[in-house]
């Protein structure tokens, strides 16, 4: 069986398992929707008071927010196995079982669970996205759509990369470190505003270290016709989400290094 079909099998099993309790699924999804919609309330309230932020309008921030939320929701749904890797696999020694199977550890951890309840965050991001597009008054071309979808793909890859790095840390620390939340949840928080509102050091961090700016700020600014704000040539902007994929590739390299020096804690 090839890897893709096997992953499909994993997803089907995970889906069936979660649908054993449809009530819990619906309640948790609605809860996730409610918890994340709070972020959007904050944006709305601040714009109700201030009208604009450094010349950016509400609908533009809504689109930034929508794109980064959708990207994170996708990554969060896919990487449950990495998210709980420390307590669930390293601490218990269960990772040994993954290592003796003739499949890659990444595939097995991806297949651990597809978190269907993340549809709550996804829906919320899509609504913000729709609001942003609708009120922009821009005629959305296929080009702009392609730019946004590529941004989401790059963003999802970047967030997956962060979660893989978080899991890799567990090889050394055993426990999962909450600190990675600053880059996942905190990343969503930071990337919902265009980078030019931030101080220079923070902006550089979000471009060159954890390229959140490359997966949302540059392409979304281009789609909104605000390329002038970024200080980069316009043709380059839709391409920057590539750095999200690059980040994931590097993260997987580091993961492989971690796996090689893994020593079991199990008994």
């Amino acid at each position: 069986m090839n890897a893709l079909r096997l992953y499909g099998r994993y997803v089907a099993v995970s889906w069936r398992a979660q649908m054993q309790y449809p009530g819990a699924f619906i309640a948790t999804s609605i809860g996730a929707f409610g918890a994340t919609v709070v972020d959007f309330i904050a944006i709305w309230a601040l714009f109700a008071r201030f009208r604009q932020i450094e010349g950016w309008r509400f609908h533009e921030i809504a689109l930034f927010y929508g794109v980064v939320s959708v990207a994170f929701a996708v990554a969060d749904a896919l990487t449950r196995g990495f998210d709980i890797f420390g307590p669930q696999f390293v601490k218990t020694g269960d990772f040994d079982r993954l290592l003796v199977r003739p499949r890659s550890t990444v595939l097995q951890l991806m297949g651990y669970e597809l978190r269907a309840t993340r549809i709550g965050r996804l829906a919320q991001g899509m609504i913000a996205w729709g609001v942003g597009m609708h009120f922009s008054g821009i005629d959305w071309t296929w080009n702009a759509w392609a730019t946004l979808l590529f941004a989401v793909a790059g963003g999802a890859a970047l967030f997956c990369g962060i979660l893989v790095l978080q899991a890799t840390l567990a090889f050394w620390t055993v426990e999962s470190l909450e600190i990675a939340n600053t880059l996942t949840y905190g990343g969503v928080e930071a990337a919902q505003y265009p980078l030019d509102v931030y101080a220079r050091w923070f902006r550089n961090f979000l471009i060159f270290v954890v390229p959140l700016g490359c997966v949302t700020y540059f392409p979304v600014a281009a789609a909104l016709g605000r390329a002038d704000r970024t200080g980069l040539p316009e043709w380059l902007l839709p391409l920057t989400p590539v750095f999200g994929f690059l980040f994931l590739a590097v993260a997987l390299r580091v993961w492989r290094f971690g796996v090689r020096r893994y020593t079991s804690t199990g008994s």
Partner: protein, 274 residues
């Protein structure tokens, strides 16, 4: 008198010491709070740069955000996991057998939970925002000292009331958990409600003007908004005293509701487990 409160003191002390153990978690939490505070302040500063008149100054807003981060764990975000476990296992019955007033027992436990962890989290945050940042030359972004001796005194009083109020809300949430047999629903709803109405999400004075009368009257403003506005002299004189009185009233009301609710819930308690 002393013998009457001794068991509650003991509960408090045992709980306090237990909670002090989680140092690594506190460190990770501290990093997260710094990061979050920095983002929020940069965004607010950007909003303020293009604004005309605002209901509070940027300086006041910055103090508000740092203190909100420092006091983060003071708020009753979720039901005490130990209580949730007790409800699930049926051990809640044991608490009924103790020769103590159950409400007082749970309230004391909730107060301990609101003092030990928050202390560990607040001190490094205040030192970082108030001392390290100015030393590094970022005074514009730093937490300023209280607006005066009066403000400092009223702030301290208000903080004590925050603990009392937070424990009352937390105990009420625990009673609902007992009635519902699960903490999930309470946690799901209260997380969002508290982050909005305490002022943690956006300082309450910056929310729309037409909402202000309601925002100031509702109980959750006393969890965060009241002390923070007193600290930076956004609330002074009679207005500050009124806000303190409002905190006291809400503590009394919520403790009263909690007692009545507990009596009702416990009268038909179903202990799970077996």
């Amino acid at each position: 008198m002393t013998t009457a409160i001794r068991p509650y003191q003991a509960v408090f002390r045992a709980r306090f010491n237990l909670l002090l153990q989680y140092r690594a978690a506190a460190l990770a939490g501290f990093g997260t709070q710094c990061w979050w505070g920095a983002i929020k302040i940069m965004v607010l500063a950007a909003f303020f740069r293009g604004a005309g008149s605002t209901p509070m100054t940027l300086k006041q807003a910055i103090d508000y955000i740092w203190l909100a981060q420092a006091l983060l764990t003071l708020l009753p975000w979720s039901v005490d996991p130990d209580v949730a476990r007790m409800v699930r296992s049926g051990d809640v019955g044991y608490d009924r057998l103790r020769p103590l007033d159950t409400y007082g027992f749970w309230y004391a436990r909730a107060v301990a939970r609101r003092t030990a962890t928050p202390l560990l989290r607040a001190i490094p945050m205040v030192l970082t925002a108030g001392v390290v940042l100015p030393v590094l030359g970022a005074s514009d972004w730093a937490l300023s000292p209280p607006a005066g001796w009066n403000a400092a005194l009223l702030f301290t009083v208000s903080l004590v009331l925050v603990v009392a109020l937070a424990a009352a809300v937390a105990t009420l949430m625990e009673i609902i958990t007992v009635a519902a047999l699960s903490e999930r629903g309470v946690n799901m709803i209260m997380g969002g409600v508290i982050i909005v109405f305490s002022g943690n999400l956006v300082p309450l004075p910056l929310l729309p003007d037409w909402l202000q009368p309601f925002l100031q009257l509702q109980p959750l403003a006393g969890l965060l908004d009241t002390p923070l506005r007193i600290y930076s002299a956004h609330l002074v004189g009679a207005a500050a005293v009124t806000a303190l009185v409002r905190q006291v009233l809400w503590v009394l009301v919520l403790v009263g509701i909690g007692r009545v609710a507990m009596a009702r819930v416990m009268a038909r308690l179903q202990a799970q487990g077996g």
